[in-house]
Symmetry: C2
Subunit: 317 residues, 2 copies
């Protein structure tokens, strides 16, 4: 194993100089720095993570806690994980995946990544002694990253208006969670700007429920209607109901989903949807935590990443 000392010898300097070239390059003259860098590459020097961690009073590990029940039929978390992994990789950080909150504080970690935290979780989150960053909106001041839910439905609503659908209806999820409020807000605000009245229906996030709902209230939905849905699941149920009733998609009825992770691709016709940039979210999430650790716990604020509206077969060309 090549160590600092090896590099130091080859460059005819002390190991402190080598260490400085790595951590505080500005404190070293350009000449020396170049010599040292040359020596490092020549020897293919790879810093020892454990030693670095020990000296810095760190572990170079973070824990990723998944609190919600994972619906394993969706690759959402896999994509998120890949993003997180990419973000951690660059800093030679490693990950511990946890699903049991009791195991979160066992062992060492420099910080925590947490997803699926609900309001009831916040009290014990406050007990944690290491920096944490949440995945998913919250309104209690915890640092978080999320997709910009409000912007997403704004984009969807504006798009539906641009395609000349007259009546815009929101099919929401009946949970009291920030992401749902934000998605509804984006819809409502956009309608208000165009002097239209919002119509919102809420139900559990199951495609057969939205299908049933649309079927039962079919007479209320005249042609030239676009359904803005809070999830792809709901959207798929809406599509099924419309087709069943003999409605024409996208000519008379438009449907726009939300999430764009998987379901949108297998449906027929393929769903127009507000697509989250999940791997990117993961990468930013990891980076946020790393910089919070580096800044000894300093507030990182809220980060919202713009989603992308993917236009496919369920809205007009």
């Amino acid at each position: 194993m090549v160590t600092l000392s090896d590099v130091a010898k080859r460059a005819n300097v002390s190991k402190m100089t080598v260490s400085r070239v790595i951590n505080h390059p500005e404190q070293v003259t350009t000449e020396l720095r170049e010599i040292v860098v040359a020596a490092m590459t020549a020897l293919n020097y790879q810093p020892n993570v454990a030693a670095k961690a020990l000296a810095n009073n760190r572990s170079n590990m973070v824990k990723f806690l998944i609190l919600e029940d994972i619906d394993t039929t969706e690759p959402y978390y896999m994509n998120l994980l890949f993003g997180i992994a990419r973000g951690l990789d660059k800093a030679q950080y490693a990950l511990q995946l946890i699903t049991d909150r009791d195991r979160l504080t066992i062992g060492n970690a420099d910080g925590y990544l947490i997803t699926g935290a609900r309001t009831s979780d916040f009290p014990w989150l406050d007990q944690l002694k290491r920096p944490l960053v949440l995945f998913g909106e919250n309104r209690y001041g915890y640092d978080f990253i999320d997709t910009d839910n409000k912007l997403g439905t704004q984009m969807a609503t504006q798009y539906a208006l641009a395609k000349n659908y007259q009546s815009l209806i929101f099919i929401g999820i009946d949970v009291k969670e920030p992401f749902e409020y934000s998605r509804e807000a984006g819809y409502i605000n956009t309608l208000q700007q165009h002097a239209k009245l919002p119509r919102i229906y809420r139900m559990a996030n199951r495609s057969h429920l939205s299908q049933q709902y649309i079927t039962e209230h079919w007479h209320e939905f005249a042609p030239n209607t676009c359904f803005i849905c809070a999830s792809d699941r709901l959207a798929i149920g809406v599509v099924r109901a419309i087709l069943q009733q003999g409605g024409s998609i996208p000519r008379d009825y438009g449907v726009i989903g939300h999430d764009g992770v998987f379901l949108d691709q297998v449906s027929n016709p393929q769903l127009t949807t507000v697509q989250q940039q999940v791997p990117l979210l993961g990468e930013h999430l990891a980076r946020m935590l790393l910089s919070k650790i580096a800044q000894s716990g300093a507030q990182q604020g809220e980060v919202l990443l713009a989603p992308q509206l993917v236009t496919r077969g369920t809205t007009r060309d």
Copy 2:
């Protein structure tokens, strides 16, 4: 932070004794051991992973390299990861997720978990200087863990025979990989034991291909036939074709899939399938690598985990 010394002080021993209680308890008298253990629990002592790693010349990190293209519509890897995480967690090991093989040797790791390795990968695997364990069969002597593919199709074939399907046809994947050979072997062997002739058709692992194949050759498949498929994807295509042709499932036609991870549940009727114990596989995979590391690279051999035949709607009661 509570250290060895803190525990030592409280127990009125040297820190070496504490260290021994942890790593070589048999070298310490029962009395002292109990005192020390009491002190550890009283102080909630958590060993410092970085220090331990440094002293042991380890990093307490392993890399998980995913070589194949992940079909992100299947939760297979998520389940595997959860299992791996569980296996690592107990030893306070952390994980680095890698998809780019060039990054495998960057940074420190005590060993490698590798999935999706093909024959062409083995040359460079030999270059690696750390222990590795593969996920997935290979016939070149690398340690691996996998589901028992041969046993799986044996179980499926025997079950089909027990349900009195007369004609048993294997729908395979046309790849030259050990898992496919094993699955075919389980089918062939069982048929031979019952003095029946195997009929195998192979195609790429796409449901529309198996659907097309069955449709085009429908006249060849008399009632009382069971299709043993090498994947759930293929099985679903077969189911669709049979229903389209007006065949009765499970009365006249049986279908058995393989993998049982996701697709089997969303199909209609629900698929009888050979289900892999994916999280368990992951856990064992991690443990294999950890013990290989502990035994400084000693051969661990091949581990095959028995799958479970899940009987549902596509075979007779």
